[in-house]
């Protein structure tokens, strides 16, 4: 089927076999890559094992790291420390960012007050704050949490503000005609409608925080997944690095999946208020 016909919604193959096709292709692609990887490392002399360990080496290293401590903790130990720091950072970011975002959306003059400072600071990448954070807070968990906060905060505040100001203004008007005051309208109408969008923004913030944490842990600290992979590099162990990277990626994905589930459970309503079903 030509690309154009497919995009335009043309004839689709029907049947269960067709529905499974994407998954089959995907699985085949990944399997092929894994096989090629293994092949490359199985041929002696083609690739030095310090540069690219074989898949089996990586799995072995994974098991080893779960069982025995490396650079101060097992894999779980490092992961837990990372998660802790991340948790603290994002919680503070949400605690400050969401109320502030709501306030900015609801009270326009406030935006004029906050915008200059915010815009000035926003473009400094979270990681660029690491040197100054280390000087201020030392090489401790606080520094890491602060970097996570700096990474997550802008997304929290901006997305919350966009979510609240982006809802159909007609809803606020309808609430006013029914006698609701400003506070009631905000609490009873605007926030529930904006909640799913706010939550989606929070997921982005969480993800930003996780990504920034890894970077911070590369530079500072004696534990954590970022520390683990930097130790892997120092010890010339590509397998360790790969285990670390995979764990970071897997955890990041898991977090997002859990959050998506939570969002669907807690906020089941849709926010496109003016689309009739027919």
């Amino acid at each position: 089927m030509s690309g154009a016909t497919a995009l335009s919604g043309g004839r689709r193959d029907s049947g269960i076999a067709a529905a499974r096709q994407p998954a089959l292709y995907g699985a085949a692609a990944i399997a092929t890559l894994l096989f090629a990887w293994w092949l490359a490392t199985a041929v002696p002399g083609l690739v030095p094992s310090r540069v690219l360990p074989s898949p089996l080496d990586v799995v072995a290293r994974f098991a080893a790291l779960i069982a025995d401590p490396f650079s101060g903790a097992t894999l779980f130990g490092h992961a837990l420390v990372s998660l802790q720091r991340w948790g603290i950072g994002v919680l503070v970011a949400i605690g400050l960012g969401v109320p502030l975002g709501i306030a900015l959306a609801w009270l326009p003059p406030l935006r004029a007050v906050v915008t200059p400072a915010f815009e000035l600071l926003r473009y400094i990448p979270p990681f660029a704050w690491v040197p100054i954070a280390v000087l201020w807070f030392g090489a401790s968990t606080t520094t890491q949490a602060v970097i996570v906060f700096i990474a997550a905060f802008p997304a929290c505040i901006i997305n919350t503000q966009l979510a609240v100001s982006g809802i159909d203004p007609i809803l606020a008007r309808a609430a006013r005609t029914l006698g609701a005051g400003s506070a009631t309208t905000l609490a009873r109408v605007v926030l529930p409608v904006a909640a799913p969008t706010i939550f989606t923004g929070l997921r982005i913030a969480f993800s930003n925080g996780w990504m920034a944490l890894v970077g911070a842990e590369l530079v500072v600290g004696k534990q954590g997944l970022g520390f683990l992979i930097s130790q892997g590099q120092i010890n010339d162990s590509a397998a360790t690095i790969l285990v670390g990277m995979t764990t970071i990626g897997v955890l990041g994905t898991l977090i997002d999946i859990v959050l998506q589930r939570a969002q669907r459970l807690a906020l089941p309503w849709r926010t496109d208020s003016v689309r009739p079903a027919e």
Binding site: S2, G3, A4, T5, A6, L7, S8, G9, G26, A27, A29, I30, R50, L107, P108, P109, L110, A112, V113, V114, T115, P116, A117, L121, I124, P125, F127, A128, V130, P131, I132, L135, P154, A155, I158, L162, S165, S182, I204, S207, N208, W210, M211, A212, G215, L218, G226, I229, G232, Q233, A238, I241, L242, M245, T246, I248, G249, V250, G252, D256
Partner: protein
């Protein structure tokens, strides 16, 4: 798609400033002049607070937060003479080279790949899972691997910037093509356009704003990652300046480096928004990826 650089719409679209006199002052959108006035006062207040707090008798020692004058002196120093072996211009140039180089390389590979993935479903089925696996790994996490494989030279940093930029390039380009309204394609078919004509004339044109948005996000990612890479392993560049300044407790230089990093990041973002407006003037302002 994780968009970490959402541009805030500080003015509500469509709201006439000062309009809607039925709302109280705090709920009303300020007029243009009012807005400027409030913003300037706010800025001045923050600057005054900074100065007051870092005075010799102030609350904060200059080791924690240098006073404005120290930052200015640091800027002048960086501007006028070499620092750590290169002039400011050379440092900025070193950073820019790698960021733009890595970003363009990623675009060269990622843009066609993404468009192709959006257009041909089999390619999408094959390639998309691979990128889905790549995406959750933070670009910064590739740095140790890059150092191991490529050493401390430029190539390691370009590699990491490339990885950081390619995912947004590919994913956004794919999404831009994939989410084209099928109706437009059908209309083109009925007017006799061939597949390749539809691809170039209709799809790519309509998808242009989203494609540029993808480029913008990729550039943001690339810049963030470069700064990190320079902090870890470099001999020149803004990140390198920042790292050294923090080690030698030259707080003024550190703040200037951070400010320049931020300014360049802002320039990139604003520049890309202008490109969007130039390339696709019909697109609504503020379309996020």
């Amino acid at each position: 798609m994780v968009d970490a650089t959402l541009k805030p719409s500080w003015r509500l679209p469509g709201a006439a400033p000062g309009a809607d006199a039925t709302l109280s002052f705090w709920r009303r959108e300020p007029g243009r002049a009012q807005w400027l006035a409030i913003a300037l006062v706010s800025l001045a207040a923050m600057f005054a607070a900074w100065w007051a707090v870092t005075r010799p008798e102030g609350l904060v020692s200059s080791l924690f937060l240098p006073p404005p004058i120290e930052v200015w002196e640091a800027f002048v120093r960086l501007w006028s003479g070499p620092y750590l072996g290169s002039t400011l211009g050379q440092h900025i140039g070193a950073s820019l080279q790698i960021v733009i180089g890595g970003w363009l390389l990623a675009g060269l590979v990622g843009l066609p790949l993404g468009i192709a993935m959006g257009w041909w479903k089999r390619l999408r089925w094959i390639a998309f899972p691979i990128f889905q696996i790549l995406r959750p790994v933070p670009p910064l996490a590739w740095i140790p691997l890059a150092l191991l494989w490529l050493g401390i030279g430029n190539s390691a940093r370009i590699f990491v910037v490339f990885i950081a930029a390619i995912v947004p390039w590919v994913m956004n380009s794919m999404q831009a093509v994939y989410s084209i309204d099928g109706l437009l394609v059908r209309a083109a078919l009925t007017l006799g356009a061939s597949d390749s004509q539809i691809l170039t004339r209709v799809v790519c044109r309509t998808a242009l704003p989203t494609l540029v948005a993808g480029a913008r996000i990729a550039l943001g990612n690339a810049w963030t990652t470069l700064v990190a890479a320079e902090l870890l392993a470099a001999t020149a560049g803004l990140g390198y300046i920042a790292l050294n300044a923090s080690r030698t407790l030259e707080m003024g230089i550190l703040l200037v480096a951070m400010a320049i990093i931020g300014a360049l990041g802002a320039l990139f973002s604003i520049g890309m928004h202008l490109v969007t407006r130039w390339v696709a003037p019909w697109a609504r302002a503020g379309v996020a990826a």
